[in-house]
Symmetry: C2
Subunit: 255 residues, 2 copies
DNA sequence: CATAGTCATTGGTTAGACCATTAATATGAT
DNA sequence: ATCATATTAATGGTCTAACCAATGACTATG
């Protein structure tokens, strides 16, 4: 039955020397032989170590830099520093996939429904008093903005974003927190451009937020999750409707 | 209130020429001026177009290649081809973050609980007859393997993976489907190494799968989601327990 | 003591050459 | 005529050697 095993190997990309250099340095980082903050020797020295030309070495450094593994500084005391593993790289790639349509926005929206629900549930289970206080403070601010009507609209959107991200933080799961941020920055913020005051239904949204925070405060995890999910679901439905209208208008114009 | 706006600009990375070349080509791809399959002119020609040295141009190409935007072939008729936007890049980055511990495995496990639940629910809503048939076929195979006891264990694991991925496909959401694959390949497969026959509780797992498929078939979305979530939750709990034991044993050894 | 200038270090860029791989084409044996 | 083999042109991969540009430390000068 071993013929069922899926190899999933990577194509052994030619004998490219710079790739070998990349692999060696990357491996050193993964094995902890190089840790964040470490500075690699100057290019002219590394060139000798690896016994490659400077050009080849630099191609390797470009790849490592693009992978987010090292950061390169200019001038005296400059050079390639091993970076703290971060999420910028992932974020950039995701952003590109969204912009280019590789990930359909409807799918992302739907994904967000489930994610926000789960996050709210977890937050309800894990919030401490300090968390609740911060949350209520932001909420108060948001609703004040909402009450100002159209003039407070932009600020409400900003406060709304803060609340969602704060809840993600309270859920204390780095994966959810990261995805939440990236989705918000690439989808919600994009959608908000097309929103106008009437779309936003400030009072309704504000009430949703209030209910959600209450549920979290009172540790009603299921409720919190359900409210959050419904909240996002309604938003998505409204955006889809708007999108359909836009598409319709465009196809009408192009006739 | 415009002082509240979060800029989130990127550091204007110095006057690096190759970066400018990267930006221009990337922009051309995003704008559709370059579409997948297009072949860029040879390096020696591009060098003149951008008025840079070949070395600089090649550094730009390395970055574009690393970003997954182009693929470079050798020999006559070779060159840089614009690639179909894919997920390999994202996958590689994620795999690195998991391997390096940037994303804690417990967080990923917890994330998976929610995700698998949601996927099962969606699958229940969207499965057609063909989907169900495929699913039942894989299920039957999996359970036969399970009944063989220890000898069928490895095959059961493989069939189990197939079922989960098939359900993700049925859910018809590219984001969930992608995340499911990446998590499975990087976490589940990793965990499986440490599993032994007794851990796997073949009969219990098989029953879970049966219940899940039934729920999907009968469009009981809530049930399907709950069963899937519980299934993963139990698995995670078992792995955490095992991990704690291992850690304990290690610290005992190192004393 | 402070300010401005000098200089060594290190990444960024250029130029030109040659090597290695690939696919098309020409050549030759059967 | 057909198929195998050798040639060749196109193109990426690598090397060498030089010079430019930014940076920070050191030094001289007021």
């Amino acid at each position: 039955m071993s013929d069922k095993v899926k190899p999933e190997f990577q194509k052994a990309k030619k004998n490219r020397i710079f790739q070998d250099v990349v692999d060696q340095i990357q491996e050193a980082i993964l094995e902890g032989k190089l840790t964040p903050g470490d500075v690699l020797p100057p290019e002219r020295e590394l060139r000798e170590t690896f016994n490659v030309s400077r050009g080849t070495l630099r191609e390797a450094l470009r790849v490592l830099e693009q992978k987010g593994l090292v950061e390169i500084r200019l001038g005296t005391g400059g050079g390639a520093r091993v970076k703290e593993a971060g999420t910028e790289q992932l974020t950039e790639t995701l952003a590109f996939m969204i912009r280019s349509g590789t990930l359909p926005v409807v799918d992302i929206g739907e994904f967000r429904e489930g994610m926000e629900g789960k996050i709210a549930s977890l937050a309800a289970l894990r919030a401490n008093e300090k968390d609740i206080k911060r949350l209520e403070k932001i909420l108060k601010n948001a609703c004040e903005m909402a009450e100002k009507g159209e003039s407070g609209w932009q600020d409400f959107l900003y406060a709304d974003e803060s609340i969602h991200k704060e809840i993600a933080k309270i859920a204390r799961n780095s994966v959810y927190q990261y995805l939440m941020n990236v989705v918000h920055d690439n989808i919600q913020r994009y959608y908000n451009i097309f929103l106008d005051f009437s779309d936003n239904r400030l009072a309704e949204n504000c009430q949703d937020l209030k209910n959600m925070v209450s549920a979290i405060k009172e540790r009603r995890a299921e409720d919190a999750g359900r409210i959050a999910e419904e909240h996002v679901k309604r938003f998505n439905a409204r955006m889809r409707a708007k999108e359909a209208l836009t598409t319709q208008a465009i196809s009408k114009n192009s006739q």
